[in-house]
Point group: C2
Chain length 190, copies 2
C-alpha cells in the first residue's frame, strides 16, 4: 500500500484526508496462484491494483474457449471494466496466474473519490491514457501482424512472463490456438 501511495505522491499532492480515504476503501491482499477474484456472471464490486505478480482477465465463449483480454502485472489495474462501466454483471473472469500482491478497492467507493478528492483525477487520467494507448497498439497489432509477429512482440513486451504463464494463456491472448502457438515456437527453434 505504501508503494501505491508513493506512486500517487510522485504525481500530485495528496492530502492526508485523501490518503485516509484510500486506506478506508482498500485492502492489501496476497493472492495464491489460481485464485479467482471476479467470476463471470457475478456482480463486480472490486477493482484491483497489482503491486506484484500477475493476473489475467478473460471471457469464456459458448464453446468453452477462453479469450484473454488482459495480463496485469505490477502497476496495472485489473477488473471487469465493461461490467463496471455499464453496470452489468461480469462477462469476464479475473484470476491470478501466480502468487500475487494486489490492492483491492471497492469499485463504487473508488468512483466517489473523484468527488471527494478531485486531486485524484490526474492520477487516474494518466493510468487511463496509458491503458488506452496500449489497447490501441494491441488492436493495430492484431489487425496487421501475423501470429508469429504478434508472439515475438509479446515476448518483448513481457520479457520474462513466459516462465510462469502457460502457453495456452498466451495463445488465448494472441488470438490463436495453443497448438498453433506450439508450432510457431517449434519453427523458431530451428
Amino acid at each position: 500500500m505504501e508503494y501505491f501511495i508513493n506512486k500517487i505522491k510522485n504525481l500530485l499532492l495528496l492530502t492526508s484526508e485523501a490518503e485516509d480515504f484510500l486506506y478506508s476503501i482498500s485492502k492489501e491482499k496476497v493472492i495464491t496462484k489460481g485464485e479467482v477474484l471476479i467470476q463471470q456472471g457475478d456482480v463486480v464490486k472490486k477493482t484491483y491494483f497489482v503491486t506484484d505478480g500477475c493476473l489475467r482477465s478473460f471471457c469464456t465463449d459458448r464453446s468453452g474457449k477462453e479469450h484473454t483480454l488482459q495480463f496485469a502485472i505490477k502497476d496495472w489495474w485489473i477488473s471487469d471494466f465493461i461490467a463496471i462501466y455499464n453496470n452489468e454483471l461480469a462477462t469476464l473472469t479475473v484470476e491470478s496466474i501466480k502468487e500475487s500482491k494486489v490492492i483491492e478497492f471497492n469499485a463504487n467507493e473508488l468512483n466517489n473519490i473523484y468527488i471527494k478528492h478531485p486531486e485524484f483525477e490526474a492520477f487516474q487520467r494518466k493510468n487511463l491514457e496509458r491503458h488506452m494507448v496500449s489497447l490501441h497498439k494491441r488492436i493495430l497489432n492484431q489487425l496487421q501482424l501475423t501470429a508469429q509477429e504478434r508472439y515475438d512482440l509479446f515476448l518483448k513486451q513481457y520479457p520474462d512472463i513466459e516462465q510462469y504463464i502457460p502457453n495456452y494463456h498466451i495463445a488465448s491472448y494472441l488470438g490463436i490456438t495453443q497448438q498453433s502457438l506450439s508450432r510457431i515456437r517449434a519453427e523458431k527453434n530451428n
Copy 2:
C-alpha cells in the same frame, strides 16, 4: 463549439476563464470528404472532437494495406493518441469519410488544461473510460467472434454508417478483406 461547451457544462461547473481557455486553443472546422487531418509520419499537433460527420484513423502496413483503428462520429475524440502519448511521429493517418464538423485542439495546450483548469479532468476521464470500455469490447469481439458476427455487431453499433462508408473501410476495421466482406454480405441476402 457551443455544443461542446454545453456537453462539458452538463457534467461540471465551467468557469468563464476555463471556457475562454478552451476557445483560445481550439478552432471549429468544416472538413470536406477525403480531407486528411493527420498524416502518417508527421508530428501530431492536433486532437479533434467530432460534432458532426465521420472521420477515421488508420495505419498503412508495409504492403500498403490499410487497417482502420477507429471510426469517430459525433461526441468522439480522434487523433493519433499513440504518437501524442509517446511523443513520436504519427503512425496513423486521420481522414474524413464524409463532410464533417470538428473542433480542432492544439494537443499540447489541451494537455495543459489539466494544470490550469483541473475541473476539466472529470470530463476527460469520462471520455477515456468510455473509450477504454469500447476498446475492451472490440478486442473481445475480435478474439471470439467470426467475421460474420463482427459485421452484424458493427451494423448494430453504427446503424446508418453503411450508407456513407465504403465497404472496404468497414472490412479494414473488422480485420478482413473487402472481398470477404462482400461474400459475407452476399450470404445474408439469401
